[in-house]
């Protein structure tokens, strides 16, 4: 969800310490939604990291005498068609979904930022070539490209990460390029270049730090898009394969039982919704905090 460079040409710099730094933290924590988002994200991350210890049951353990039970004291979120504890599966699903979210965002951002920097800094044909390629990827409804890629690569965790990561590259490239273009012309950057500083050093020392803001914002939003994309791929049978639980495949699996055992889909759907909300609020909060002109 890239936006054109619109903020009057000033770089988005992020200061984390000092007078401007503490203003940043204040702005960040001002909105209750952002705070809620941070808490939510931390909770999900904790669940994912400590899944083995927190989950009451192993995620693949079947209890055939307790199939499709409504939530009760033993199975806090109920059981699925095999009697597997939904709570445990959702907790382990947090791990998988987070892995998908973070890994694909890492791929997307690192490749995207590199390409965007290259395009912005070099200009000319390099710029055109890279940006048109990005356009090609963006011209697809992402689902269709995802289906096509999954048809070629097959389902499974690694491929899902790869596919979603690939789909995220263009946005990072565009945003980075926009920022680089803005910063490129600033006085101190021009000065550095005039002084003979190598391009690579200029980029790393002066240009990139000033683009961090929008990139970080986009990254946090991208994590949530990735989680949603995993759910969509699982809906089509192209995502993480059972019995490994991911929120997407629990939700998709639960579709068959939505009339008799709706809790299967409900809790995984809620997990997806809450996590996406959390990362969205973090992203919004970051954007508000970074851009000082949002002060009224």
């Amino acid at each position: 969800m890239a936006q054109p460079v619109v903020h009057g040409g000033r770089p988005w710099s992020v200061r984390l310490t000092g007078r401007r730094g503490s203003a940043f933290w204040r702005r960040l924590t001002r909105s209750p939604l952002t705070v809620a988002g941070v808490i939510g994200a931390l909770l999900v991350i904790a669940l994912g990291v400590f899944a083995d210890r927190v989950a009451p049951f192993p995620f693949a353990e079947v209890h055939l005498t307790d199939r499709t039970r409504t939530p009760n004291l033993v199975y806090l979120l109920g059981t699925d068609q095999f009697g597997r504890d939904i709570l445990s599966r959702v907790i382990f699903g947090a791990r998988i979904s987070l892995i998908v979210g973070v890994a694909s965002t890492t791929i997307g951002s690192s490749l995207g930022v590199s390409l965007g920097t290259l395009a912005g800094y070099c200009g000319g044909w390099v710029d055109e070539g890279i940006m048109r390629s990005m356009d090609v990827i963006m011209a697809f409804p992402s689902i269709v490209l995802g289906i096509a890629l999954a048809a070629v690569l097959g389902p499974g965790l690694g491929n899902v990460i790869l596919i979603i990561g690939l789909l995220q590259i263009p946005q990072f490239a565009r945003i980075t390029r926009g920022s680089v273009l803005t910063v490129k012309e600033l006085d101190y950057v021009l000065a550095a270049r005039a002084l003979g500083q190598g391009s690579a050093i200029t980029v790393v020392r002066h240009v990139l730090p000033n683009c961090v803001g929008p990139i970080v914002v986009l990254a946090s939003l991208t994590v949530s898009t990735a989680i949603g994309a995993e759910a969509a791929l699982s809906f089509l049978g192209l995502g993480i394969q059972p019995p490994t639980p991911s929120w997407g495949n629990i939700l998709s699996d639960g579709r068959q039982y939505i009339l008799q055992a709706p809790w299967i889909s409900t809790f995984s759907g809620l997990a997806i919704t809450i996590t996406i909300l959390a990362f969205n609020f973090i992203g919004d909060g970051l954007r508000d905090a970074i851009d000082p002109r949002m002060r009224t």
């Binding site: 693949a60 353990e61 079947v62 199939r67 009339l259």
Partner: protein
């Protein structure tokens, strides 16, 4: 209708042996008939005892007199309750049938897919068909074919039959159709090309088919595969690219009206159908709805009248819903775990037997199929005449399994590990996961790999370019016709293309005795002798265990109570032939 079948033709998702529901009352056959012919195997086909003029219903005395040109609109019976015995069938009305997938194609040059073939069974007919009980009966032929020698079939064709465009049906049309099915540019059935040499028009109503080599399954194949329906001579040329999209020709009880892909396929009544008085419905609309729960919701809200393939989990809930009837019948679907005897670990009989002993089949039937399945106790399902009612359930004995595994060299220090492949459908994945859990109790490590259909089947069917040694165990279902032949031969004969276990095939597990018995069982026509051979075959198969038969499924359909006289699916017969709707 979603069950992929491993038989060479893709069609008729659920084959079932059916009794018409008591609530519907017996259908009204247009002509009195004798007892229906028994399912015969083609190789020894003799004309059946009673030449039946039409697919027959239950042999009970017909409830209606023979002449049944129903009056245009009889006064509707006052609010006939759903469960009451038969009212008079009323002509007219429209029903909406909900199913899962778009037909792939309606063109005779292509395989129509399961849904396509099922729908088209109402439009296209062959010389033979299947009646509601699963027997092969003559349809466009007047009787079962004459067999002057094992390589020849002579069919006497029915006179006075019209195609939907009005032209009369003769042997010329049959030859035109068979040419399409045999020509290398237009055929889709590999088997027709493999076995049939040529066809002859002997006279306008006698048609002769000459085979290259014996094909025991020929008549059963023809009876079950609506894709091989007869079309009028010159139809493809006359209609060109419109054929299969705007026009489909046949002799069946319903005519093709329109097909809007992903939206609906509409059939209308054939007023000149050769079984006078049938069918009753004016119109059938087939709607493809991909999402299972939305299908059920459409049925419950009344937007649809018939749901062809009710998910088992919905069945119980629907049973108690007012206004909806749930029909269950033994289906022609067998769930099984296939072992590849070409490679370890399943080249060792002890391992196969051990795994079979360690699988709790009843638990699978109850868990995955919610009781809508029966554990196979015999070679043949319980509704088949060849079934031995005294046969017992297969053994479930984890201790014995453990012992066998130790004998085979596996144990806690060297656990048995193997991979179960299956296609990407919840039904198969669920079974595989359950087996994984069951076997884990013995320390057996199973990995479950769901995969794409084409990748799954290629090595099992030994297709060119695939590696037949690349798989160890596969979980699929086997869709069978009700002909005895398919039960006793198709999976186990070394000559069959779907002998996935490579049983008695080069490199695979060998048992020449069993191979002989299998071939015998396929051609024995004397019932008593056949039963004895079946018993023998079953004992040998249980000992050799090339595959573990998990469950015979039931087919579940749901209909709204306004729809009467639905006969459930048997191969590709006409479930809607006798159906009618209450005007209320």
């Amino acid at each position: 209708m979603n069950r992929p079948r491993r038989v060479p033709w893709l069609h008729g998702g659920a084959v079932a042996l059916v009794c018409l529901l008591v609530a519907c009352g017996p259908a009204a056959p247009p002509a009195p008939t004798a007892a229906p012919p028994k399912p015969t195997t083609a190789a020894a086909a003799a004309p059946t005892s009673a030449p039946a003029a039409a697919p027959t219903s239950a042999p009970a005395a017909a409830a209606k007199p023979a002449a049944t040109v129903a009056p245009a609109k009889p006064p509707a019976p006052t609010a006939a309750p759903a469960a009451a015995a038969a009212g008079e069938p009323i002509r007219g009305g429209s029903i909406t049938v909900v199913h899962s997938n778009n037909p792939r194609s309606l063109n005779p040059r292509m395989d129509g897919g399961i849904d396509g073939n099922f729908i088209m069974t109402h439009v296209r007919e062959r010389f033979l068909g299947i009646n509601e009980k699963g027997d092969i009966v003559p349809v466009l032929a007047t009787e079962m074919p004459q067999r002057p020698d094992p390589l020849t079939y002579i069919f006497k064709l029915r006179q006075g039959v019209q195609f939907h465009d009005g032209s009369p049906f003769t042997a010329e049309d049959a030859q035109y159709s068979f040419n399409i099915f045999l020509d290398e540019k237009t055929a889709f059935s590999g088997n027709y090309r493999k076995f049939i040499r040529n066809t002859e028009v002997v006279d306008p109503f006698t048609f002769r088919i000459n085979m290259k080599s014996p094909w025991p399954d020929f008549l059963s194949d023809m009876a079950n595969n609506s894709g091989l329906g007869i079309l009028p001579k010159g139809a493809l040329e006359k209609y060109g690219d419109d054929y299969g999209v705007k026009v489909v020709q046949g002799t069946g009880p319903f005519m093709f009206r329109e097909w809007i892909k992903d939206d609906r396929l509409v059939l209308v009544r054939n007023p000149n159908y050769w079984q006078t008085g049938l069918p009753y419905l004016d119109q059938i609309i087939f709607k493809p709805i991909p999402e299972e729960s939305v299908q059920v919701i459409n049925l419950r809200t009344g937007a649809a009248d018939v749901l062809l393939d009710v998910p088992f989990k919905e069945a119980k809930a629907l049973e108690s819903e007012p206004g909806i009837r749930v029909l269950t019948h033994g289906a022609g679907v067998l769930e099984e775990l296939m072992y590849n005897t070409l490679v370890p670990p399943f080249n060792d009989t002890k391992v196969r037997q051990a795994v079979a002993l360690a699988i709790n089949r009843q638990e699978i039937a109850d868990t995955v199929f919610l009781g809508y399945a029966e554990v196979p106790t015999d070679l043949l399902p319980s509704w088949h005449w060849g079934h031995d009612p005294s046969s017992k359930a297969p053994e479930y004995n984890p201790e014995k399994a453990r012992q066998l595994l130790t004998e085979a060299g596996y144990g806690p220090s060297k656990p048995l590990k193997f991979e179960i492949r299956c296609t990407n459908q919840p039904m198969f994945v669920d079974q595989a996961i359950l087996i994984q859990a069951q076997l884990a109790k013995l320390g057996i490590e199973v990995t479950v790999t769901p995969m794409d259909k084409t990748l799954f089947f290629a090595p099992m069917f030994r297709e060119a370019g695939s590696d037949p040694k690349s798989w160890q165990a596969g979980l699929e279902d086997y869709g069978f016709t009700t002909a005895t032949f398919s039960f006793v031969w198709e999976q186990y004969s070394a000559d069959s293309t779907i002998n996935t276990a490579n049983y008695n095939m080069p490199g695979g597990f060998q048992n020449p005795e069993a191979a002989k018995v299998i071939e015998q069982a396929a051609i024995e026509t004397d019932e008593t002798k056949a039963k004895a051979i079946f018993k023998q075959e079953y004992a040998m198969l249980e000992a050799d265990m090339p595959l573990t038969r998990l469950s015979f499924l039931q087919n579940v359909q749901a209909v709204r109570s306004r729809v009467k006289n639905i006969s459930a699916l048997v191969g590709d017969n006409y479930p809607f032939m006798y159906a009618w709707v209450d005007k209320n």
